[in-house]
């Protein structure tokens, strides 16, 4: 248990607007923290304060024991930052871009070549070594930018929406990359709008809303904190869904039941809200099978986490 990022009572005001209100957050070494929130929630503001680019109005934050306001130079050496509007030099070649920043971080010339090779291998851009940065696709630029944040081997990576603007394939690649970085022992603090992805790779999630952290913990924690109804979809053989609905209707933890036809799905589908745990869900399934309901599938809808999000944020934006 060693906290690497500690935020206490962090507040940032822009005139009358409170972009960040008394934020408290602790992140352990090696965590992958997904920072979620609607537009304008204050994610970028928090990250910019952590990277020493923005001074908080009040409160404090520490990274690896260094205060972001009092020891900015020390903080800068332990973090790698990728801004939301990531910057690349279009006029350079891929290797030149990394070489330049390595030089800025005082990496000696004789070490740079090997390091650039390692970084390009990590982000899978080895074959683009001599390509012009301008010619790269957006996903490639994003990966290049990520490689740049690693040039000085920082402990903490602060990535502002690393997957934004990427197609599904590039997003998966980015996710794999984050996983690899986690295995290398990096602590990753990243923001995102894409919740299903966050769920897969994060050890922790924080949900921001109008400058406040409304939920924090791992995904299971979060469901409990918010008492979210899980949406389950069941499909049976044939269209005789009445016996299934009867059983569901009597179950105490089943909420609203929807017929497939009502939500423009096939008539063999029934959807229902479920408020229980995984064990209770499993028991329900066993009960249905024992009751001779011809089950074909029984699954939780992936929209689930979006609901967590919607419940947490209620669509209110500062």
């Amino acid at each position: 248990m060693s906290a690497i990022i500690e935020i206490k009572g962090l507040t940032k005001r822009y005139g009358a607007l409170t972009a960040l209100n008394e934020l408290n957050l602790t992140i352990e070494k090696g965590d992958v923290f997904g920072f979620i929130g609607p537009n304008g929630a204050g994610k970028t503001t928090t990250m910019r304060i952590l990277t020493t680019l923005l001074r908080p109005t009040s409160g404090r934050a520490q990274i690896a024991g260094y205060s972001v306001t009092d020891q900015p130079n020390e903080v800068r050496r332990v973090i790698g930052y990728m801004p939301d509007f990531f910057g690349v030099y279009d006029d350079m070649k891929v290797w030149e871009y990394l070489d330049f920043f390595a030089a800025c971080y005082d990496v000696p010339v004789n070490q740079r070549k090997g390091m650039i090779g390692d970084l390009l291998a990590l982000v899978d851009l080895e074959n683009k070594r001599d390509a012009q940065v301008e010619s790269l696709s957006r996903g490639m630029k994003q990966r290049l930018c990520l490689a740049r944040t690693l040039a000085h081997d920082p402990q903490v990576l602060i990535l502002d929406e690393p997957a934004s603007g990427l197609d599904p394939r590039a997003r998966i690649e980015m996710r794999e990359l984050l996983r690899q970085l986690q295995m290398m022992g990096k602590t990753i603090f990243f923001s995102s709008h894409i919740l299903s992805e966050v769920a897969d790779i994060c050890t922790n999630i924080g949900i921001m809303e109008a400058g406040q952290l409304v939920a924090f913990g791992d995904i299971e924690d979060m469901r409990r904190q918010l008492q979210v109804q899980r949406l389950i979809q069941a499909r049976i053989l044939g269209e005789e869904t009445a016996p299934l609905k009867d059983i569901l209707f009597q179950h105490p933890q089943v909420g609203k039941i929807t017929d497939g036809r009502e939500v423009e799905l096939t008539p063999d589908i029934v959807r229902f809200d479920f408020g229980g745990t995984d064990e209770e869900l499993s028991q329900l399934l066993r009960h249905l099978i024992e009751a001779d309901i011809p089950m074909i599938s029984f699954s939780e809808e992936i929209g689930d986490l979006e609901d967590v999000f919607m419940q947490a944020t209620k669509g209110v934006v500062s």
Binding site: T51, T52, L53, L54, R55, P72, N73, R76, R77, I79, Y81, P83, F85, F86, G87, V88, Y89, D90, D91, M92, K93, E96, Y97, D99, F100, F101, A103, C104, Y105, D106, V107, P108, Q111, M115, D118, L119, R148, L150, H152, D153
Partner: protein
């Protein structure tokens, strides 16, 4: 990938920094060591023959009007001519410099801000004032007028000393002193003017959102200053001809020094603004 950046980079003095400037990555980048950092300059540079021609005309026509107002014996006219030749060259170089220097310094920071790389650069261990110094000198070093300007300055300085020594007996002490002061003024003026243009470009660059805006604003300020000085000189000349001020040499020295102080003041102001801005990372525009 394990490297420990030096922890003392902040305490490096400016003198040491300038000494190691040629190894500074930002300085080298500005010179085009990695890619072409300044497409505006690269573009303008293609028209440099026209700039040189324009500067030639402006330099020859615009220079020397004050030298000729110094009261001298007709016997020393050849000396005046000797003084005028390097000065005409200096004027020409100054005009060329005034066009090219803002194209070098004005995009240097604004281009980074536009691309979103400025913040990344500021998070490297390079202190902001080092970045600014490196950008200033790195971009200016691309301009190839410096050696010519140094040679011309030395030449003009030498000619002035020779002229003063030769003419010492022919002049009374006061007019010798005033002529020398005017000569020193002429020697300093190109350097101050170009230095002023460079710093205006860099200062504007830290606020502008695009390189084009930075360049247009810088040109406006630089040539605006020149226009104001020119109008002031017209005003002073008209005062002189009306006869309120009848000491011609006093006027010439006064005007020459006023001009020098204006440019020196401009340079000091820009330097102070840049210094203040380098203290806080937060005040810089982004996006």
């Amino acid at each position: 990938m394990s490297n420990k950046p030096p922890t003392q980079s902040d305490s490096i003095s400016i003198r040491q920094f300038i000494f190691t400037l040629r190894q500074n990555p930002i300085y080298l980048r500005e010179q085009g060591h990695w890619g072409e950092p300044n497409s505006i300059y690269a573009n303008i540079n293609r028209y440099s023959p026209f700039v040189i021609m324009g500067a030639l005309v402006l330099g020859v026509c615009g220079g020397n009007n004050f030298l000729s107002t110094i009261g001298m014996n007709s016997g020393t006219e050849w000396l005046i001519l000797l003084l005028c030749i390097p000065n005409a060259f200096m004027q020409m170089l100054t005009w060329g410099g005034l066009f090219m220097v803002p194209a070098l310094t004005a995009p240097s920071v604004s281009e980074e801000i536009k691309r979103g790389t400025w913040e990344i650069l500021m998070l490297t261990p390079q202190p902001v004032h080092h970045i600014l110094f490196a950008k200033l000198f790195g971009s200016l070093s691309r301009l190839r007028i410096w050696w010519l300007l140094i040679i011309m300055s030395v030449l003009q300085g030498g000619v002035t000393i020779v002229a003063a020594a030769t003419a010492a007996s022919a002049f009374d002490a006061v007019s010798l002193a005033t002529s020398l002061m005017v000569a020193i003024g002429l020697l300093l003026q190109p350097w101050l003017e170009i230095g002023y243009a460079a710093l205006v470009g860099l200062t504007v660059s830290t606020w502008a959102q695009t390189s084009r805006a930075a360049l247009i604003t810088s040109y406006s300020i630089i040539f605006g200053t020149k226009l104001v000085i020119w109008l002031l000189s017209l005003l002073l000349i008209s005062i002189l001809t009306v006869g309120i001020l009848d000491n011609e040499s006093l006027f010439t020295v006064g005007f020459s020094f006023m001009r020098i102080f204006m440019y020196a003041g401009g340079i000091a102001t820009c330097a102070a603004v840049l210094y203040r801005r380098s203290l806080s990372v937060e005040t810089w525009s982004s996006k």
